[in-house]
Symmetry: C2
Subunit: 249 residues, 2 copies
């Protein structure tokens, strides 16, 4: 029987600038008596990574540009918040209602460049890590140094979607695993060669982990055990659709 298990890691506590996220995870695992395995995937809410890296902004210290003021007025958003979002973005993809959908410098297309006001502190916003694959690799190395094990690592965030309501978590940084599971060319039980069989397995793992994390903090790390995935250096870039092939920007 194929079984998959997700274990929410509580008790990580408050993360501050300079913390080793891998070290905090290993300490929490030790307290909970969980031995990490090479075949596990460790999913981490980006917010604790951004906090540890000091990649946050204090809105009371932001001087909004005229453009940020104007966009803020149109979308009923704080000008200081808009200024931070614009700084994190390559360009605006769409805006309307209260929504500001941008392409980040990493190439993610998402609302508000992932700039997030929850679970950070008064007037403080968390930005996405500057190099999320690099952050994931660093956490993976910290875990290896402390335990000898090398689970895959995914850094996740909650993204909205066109056409469908509600957010679903996706991978924004990956280390140690192939981002997709590509079964094209294999045959189904009727001999039909699969054509569209590329699953975004890292995104599905992030979505699954969110079911355990929730949105109110307290469970920023989830260990996914029993999932099939391929070992590889891995990068979230393998999940980004090239602009030239995209019908929606």
């Amino acid at each position: 029987m194929r079984r998959l298990e997700l274990i929410g890691l509580e008790g990580i506590g408050e993360v501050v600038r300079g913390d080793s996220v891998g070290g905090l995870i290993c300490a929490a695992c030790a307290r909970e008596d969980i031995a990490l395995l090479d075949d596990d995937v460790v999913v981490i809410a980006h917010k604790i990574v951004s906090k540890a890296e000091g990649h946050v902004a204090d809105l009371t210290k932001v001087q909004p540009s005229a453009r940020a003021v104007e966009i803020g007025r149109q979308l009923d958003k704080e000008a200081e918040l808009v200024e931070v979002i614009l700084k994190e973005s390559r360009g605006i993809i769409r805006s309307g209602g209260r929504a500001l959908v941008v392409e980040t410098h990493h190439g993610f297309i998402c609302a508000n460049a992932g700039v997030d006001q929850s679970n950070v502190g008064k007037n403080i916003v968390a930005l996405l890590p500057k190099d999320p694959d690099g952050s994931a690799r660093r956490v993976r190395e910290e875990i290896r140094d402390q335990t000898g094990m090398q689970p895959a690592v995914i850094i996740s965030d909650s993204f909205g979607r066109p056409w469908r309501l509600g957010t679903v978590d996706v991978a924004i940084g990956i280390a140690g695993m192939k981002a997709v599971k590509d079964e094209r060319g294999l045959s189904d039980r009727y001999g039909y060669q699969l054509k569209a069989a590329v699953a975004a397995v890292a995104d599905e793992i992030a979505a699954a982990a969110e079911l355990v994390m929730g949105k109110r903090g307290g469970v920023p790390v989830v260990i996914v055990r029993g999932c099939e995935w391929e070992k590889e250096v891995g990068s979230v870039k393998d999940l980004l659709r090239p602009a030239a092939e995209d019908l929606f920007r």
Copy 2:
């Protein structure tokens, strides 16, 4: 510790028109010695539901219209397949390359109206169920009648996404659970009132289940145990963004 478990149900075997999907699930659970619980979510690949409902099409019996022939020529797709896709659609949202993104009669926006050639049989395609919420409710009643338990039921399919590569499974039919987890208005640990905290929990459960299902058949049903969700009649309609609020159609 918060734990979530996913159990793949093998041995469902070939599903044919007229089969009771709920009955097949109960029989497979009995063989595997799994007792379903009220708090479980049973995720079912839409394909076995479509087969049981006879909602498939034989491409050798389809007469393509001139429009289907023309679109097929432009997109390098079989005209008969395009004809079936157009019949399942309210309208075309975008086309280009080899992609045909439509709005189905249910209101789903997806590639090829969900018409699927894999795991069905030579020249046969599976369509999406006509009323997927109704199908989910029927399976739920069959399970209740046979076991006395009323787990939630999700019917799933693999959807592509704009901007990101690879498919992720989403819910296309729901019974017995609220589609979203709405934490807006609650406070985070810093007293910040959550604003964007609506998770598409049914979609995240479908995505998680796909990690166990895979694309090559054999595991069309996954039992999700230990997940937090709200009991409600439930409908996938609660996941569809109204056209007037959508920036991408």
